[in-house]
């Protein structure tokens, strides 16, 4: 890909990303009752868990059980006892570093 094509690609990607972000934000939103309201309630957990699992088990695109997955599993165990973000991250990160030394 030449540099001018890269520049255009980045600009188009930026426009698409911004449009997806602004679509439901530009006007005052309704309360979204009913099914869509429940969908929006469930969406944050669904999104974050999907992000964590895909990043933890397929950091390079293919499924792998590496240090990141070990850290994620310890993080999940930590979640049983606390909901503090820093504690979950610290416990999982230490486990990932330890797994990296062992594996």
């Amino acid at each position: 890909m030449t540099t001018p094509v890269m520049v255009v690609t980045v600009l188009v990607a930026g426009v698409i990303t911004f449009l997806s972000r602004v679509s439901f934000l530009l006007r005052a939103a309704p309360a979204f009752e009913g099914w869509f309201g429940r969908f929006l309630d469930a969406f944050p957990v669904a999104l974050f868990v999907s992000l964590a699992v895909v990043q933890g088990f397929a950091p390079d695109g293919s499924f792998e059980v590496g240090p990141g997955a070990a850290g994620l599993l310890v993080g999940v165990l930590t979640c049983v006892f606390t909901r503090r973000l820093a504690v979950v991250m610290l416990a999982g990160w230490l486990a990932a570093l330890l797994a990296d030394l062992v594996i």
Binding site: M1, T3, M6, V7, T9, V10, V12, A13, G14, I16, T17, F18, S20, R21, V22, S23, F24, L25, L26, A28, A29, F32, W35, F36, R38, F39, D41, A42, F43, P44, V45, A46, L47, F48, V49, S50, L51, A52, V53, V54, Q55, G56, F57, G61, F63, G68, G71, L72, G75, V76, C79, R83, L85, A86, V88, M89, G92, W93, A96, L97
Partner: protein, 239 residues
């Protein structure tokens, strides 16, 4: 603007955005290695401002993919912003359009999670809280990219487990978003859907498909009273 809310957003996001800055370094290194000119790599962090989209784009460019493939992948990843925008929109019904545009520019997974949590905890001005969180995120992401582009050969953040930290960041945000058993069911279903997606869905679409499908399934569950005929007070709270 309510400065106290803005400052709370800045404070709440500092730790998270330290991780984001580390990932920005990884992105800067990866972008240059993929063939992006240094200035374009930095500009992309300002224009796209989405780690998932940018990492996918540079991976495709580095692999020799054409612009159409990059745009399709970015579109797939960007679809998750639609319900994110709707969810934030519910929190800010009376905000002027200019501020809405500013909120939308930096509607990222991290600031979305922090803002939803703050609103749930009673933040009176989530729009100003989010602007504060957004400011630190943009700063961390762009400065991280600059550092990665300029000093990537001497900054080895991957050896410090930056990749694992990013997964843990989202796990922690998920945990903070969970308030009841329905969320536990949703989390378990999302984990299963995400694992399956790794095997059957192209990389750029996994997060969007798994997240949207699981949220749709969660929304279709019977109301809480039907799930638990005799709920005990306080049992819904996990904390």
């Amino acid at each position: 603007m309510v400065l106290s809310s803005f400052r709370r957003g800045v404070r709440a996001s500092l730790g998270v955005n330290a991780v984001v800055a580390g990932f920005g370094i990884l992105y800067g290194v990866g972008a240059v290695q993929a063939g992006l000119p240094p200035l374009l790599a930095i500009a992309s962090s300002l224009v796209i401002l989405s780690g998932a989209a940018q990492f996918t784009a540079v991976a495709l460019i580095g692999a020799g993919a054409g612009p159409f493939a990059v745009i399709v992948a970015v579109t797939g990843l960007g679809l998750r912003h639609l319900p994110m925008g709707a969810a934030i929109g519910r929190l800010v019904p009376d905000v002027p359009r200019a501020k809405r545009l500013a909120l939308a520019y930096v509607l990222t997974d991290e600031t979305f999670g922090l803002t939803m949590r703050a609103a749930r905890d009673g933040e009176p001005h989530p729009e100003d809280f989010m602007l504060g969180a957004n400011l630190t995120l943009v700063t961390g992401w762009v400065l991280g990219t600059v550092a990665g582009v300029g000093f990537g050969d001497i900054l080895d953040v991957e050896a410090l487990g930056a990749g694992a930290l990013f997964a843990l960041l989202f796990l922690g945000l998920a945990r903070e978003s969970m308030t009841g058993r329905r969320d536990v069911y949703t989390a378990v279903a999302a984990a299963g859907a995400a694992v399956v997606s790794i095997f059957v869905i192209p990389a750029a679409w996994r997060i969007t498909v798994a997240g949207l499908a699981t949220a749709a399934a969660g929304a279709s569950l019977p109301p809480p009273r039907a799930l638990h005929r005799a709920p005990q007070p306080g049992r819904e709270d996990l904390a």
